[in-house]
Symmetry: C2
Subunit: 419 residues, 2 copies
């Protein structure tokens, strides 16, 4: 059976590379997922699966306590689920991957077009190839290999191509509200083939920092909100140091900043000749699997309230703090769980190397699957962690095939062979 899986993966390599390139070229940034999802639907239909396609209902979602998104309207942004029905009596599994990708960023930092899908020396390049379309095609390949090997399973295999992971996970939230559950889940986010049974949560914040306007020629009569925002950025950097000094979980031992606070955007001022009176910063606040979202929010709030100690200006002009848009719940599965054991056995079996088990440096939809669905979830995928959201993002193609084999073998054991 193992050899059949290997053979069918080998025979499908070129086809999968073509599929991955077409996924990348589909440029599925937020709001533009429809075309990429059409390619997913075609693939699932060719595989003979039951395909469920729907645009999540913003009105329903936004009432949910775990709703987080920068938008409330999902027309043109469908979720896609394909179910490979089992014969009954086995454990089910969810294979979850997101189709949305972050923007390309400064295009001048890319060697090729950001959505080229070009292949060089065994790597494919393009925005989203590592985060996480390479993982998605690994899932599809694993299922195709099981089919090609003529294997029928007892448990259901539920493939999900979801929107909105990069903005807070309401694509996966919508699958849960639609009733999709399983006995375990794999999310092949770019982990460098490591296993992340614990995932860092995160959430977005926005702050308005005030100054006092004046003509630039008499700038000494005003207070620059840009200069004050520098104080706020440094103050937040200090909170990051304090929070990370507390992290002792050995799963984080190789991660320089286990729960980073990233300032991702800044904007303020209206006129080069005026002293800017308001600057806005937006960022991402990492949440440890050992704390709740509310505890993390409270610590940030108290820290910002201490700003007047750094600069008396803030006592009369406190910055605002708002949690908005995206949020990813932290997720946690004990490393001794049977599903984790099975996956790492299969990893060692296929690669001949010992599995690396760590905590993830970012939030994933795994937090929603465990928190709402009570689904034991492992994040494990072929993408290159360091290249996610990076110019010249790439994936090692060979890792996709290795990952597919590990996942196929895991599915076969987990869901059990029917005949």
């Amino acid at each position: 059976m193992k050899r059949k899986i290997q053979a069918s993966i080998h025979s499908k390599k070129n086809e999968i590379i073509q599929l991955l390139r077409s996924f990348v070229q589909a440029e599925s940034t937020q709001g533009n997922e429809r075309y990429a999802q059409t390619l997913v639907i075609e693939t699932l239909q060719e595989m003979g699966l039951d395909v469920d396609v729907w645009e999540p209902d913003g009105a329903e979602l936004k009432g949910h306590r775990y709703f987080a998104s920068s938008r409330e309207e999902f027309t043109g942004s469908p979720n896609v689920v394909g179910v490979m029905k089992g014969k009954g009596g086995g454990r089910s599994i969810i294979l979850n991957g997101h189709i949305d990708v972050v923007p390309a960023g400064d295009k001048t930092q890319w060697t090729d077009h950001p959505f080229s899908g070009i292949v060089k020396e065994g790597k494919m390049f393009g925005r989203g190839v590592t985060d996480m379309k390479g993982g998605n095609v690994a899932l599809l390949l694993a299922m195709q290999a099981i089919q090609a090997a003529g294997i029928e399973l007892k448990g259901d295999v539920i493939f999900q191509s979801v929107i909105e992971e990069e903005s807070g996970g309401c694509g996966t939230l919508a699958t849960l509200l639609r009733g999709y559950k399983a006995d375990a889940a794999i999310i092949p986010e770019p982990t460098n083939m490591k296993f992340f049974p614990k995932q860092q949560g995160s959430m977005w914040f926005k702050m308005h920092i005030k100054g006092l306007s004046a003509h630039g020629g008499t700038r000494y009569a005003g207070v620059s909100a840009i200069e004050k925002s520098l104080v706020v950025v440094e103050h937040i950097r200090e909170l990051e140091r304090v929070r990370n000094a507390r992290i002792t979980d050995p799963l984080y031992k190789n991660i320089p900043i286990p729960i980073p606070i990233n300032i991702g955007k800044i904007y303020g001022g209206e006129w080069p000749s005026s002293v800017p009176d308001i600057v806005t910063i937006e960022g991402r606040f990492g949440v440890s699997p050992e704390e709740t979202i509310d505890e993390a929010k409270k610590e940030m709030k108290q820290w910002i309230e201490a700003l007047p100690e750094a600069d008396a200006w803030f006592s009369e002009h406190p910055p605002t703090l708002e949690w908005f848009g995206a949020r990813w719940l932290p997720g946690s599965l004990e490393p001794e769980h049977a599903f984790m054991k099975l996956l790492s056995e299969k990893y060692e079996d296929v690669t001949g190397r010992e599995a690396t088990i760590e905590a993830s440096p970012w939030g994933t939809d795994g937090g929603l699957l465990t928190e709402i669905g009570q689904i034991p979830t492992i994040v494990f995928g072929p993408g290159v962690t360091e290249k996610a959201h990076f110019p010249n993002e790439y994936i090692m193609l060979e890792d996709i095939f290795t990952c597919a084999e590990i996942i196929a073998e895991t599915i076969i054991d987990w869901c059990e062979v029917s005949k």
Copy 2:
């Protein structure tokens, strides 16, 4: 004659306050000057002046070496000039004021609506009231008082209500290209009733500061363009210190920062969860009357090229530096010029106090009038310097009337009475 001028100014106070309020309420930010200019045209026509109204020709202007603007199309943004023709044989004078105002900024910092024109305790409030519509109505009032006193002059009095002063002066440039010249000029910018025979020049710059994108969860793998922009802002602050330490002209002795470098805008980053790879800052660079625009540009360029000494990152990733949009030439008239002497005599005569002569903390259209038109120009007006571009911008109404009297008396002596 002096008493006639005083009496007619006194009789017109309420009318002038109404006119000023209507100017303020016209909200003449860049691109929205038309309605305010309609009010100017009506006033000039009631005064019986020859009125010249035209939309500057962007195609013609942009070829001029002193063209500077954030736009090249002026449809809907007319210039207005009204000429009170003299009988001949006297010196002419230009009375120049700009109709454009900077945006209101953060509206929450205003007590009343930013364009209310409300009057409280002798002050009128509103964006543009001090910079410089209060000055404009002082000019109109001075001319009306001369008319009401039955005085006919030998020299021409040329009133100009120009666009674009806040964006580089191409409204005044257009008056020069249309042929308007005179033997002297007054620009009643908000000087706190001080005289500015020297005006600081200034110009706008834009810099792109590079980082390296990464996922916010592994932000240690990227380089934040926001953090690098903080280094650039501090580096520019140091250049400001160096440049200002060189200023020894006694006209600047009461000005904390004679030639400031103001960072007025900042923007960068696309996604809260990504490390930002590019941040842009825009600012205003003060130019001393003792240096040329080109010398100032060269010093800034060399200073920015030294950034790698502050942070090695910049040796491989130098920020870009671009001069764009607005620019105001420095202007300079020797304080001993006859026109300066006449104005300060009239000031002392009307107020009983000694005139204060300083260098201006900002550029005005005076640089264009002196550089292109060779017109001796004094900046002197009733507005409150500190409130220009500020929330709760206001003007002391009584200063408008005092200023109008000084200007009327100056015009009468400069242009000479015909009968």
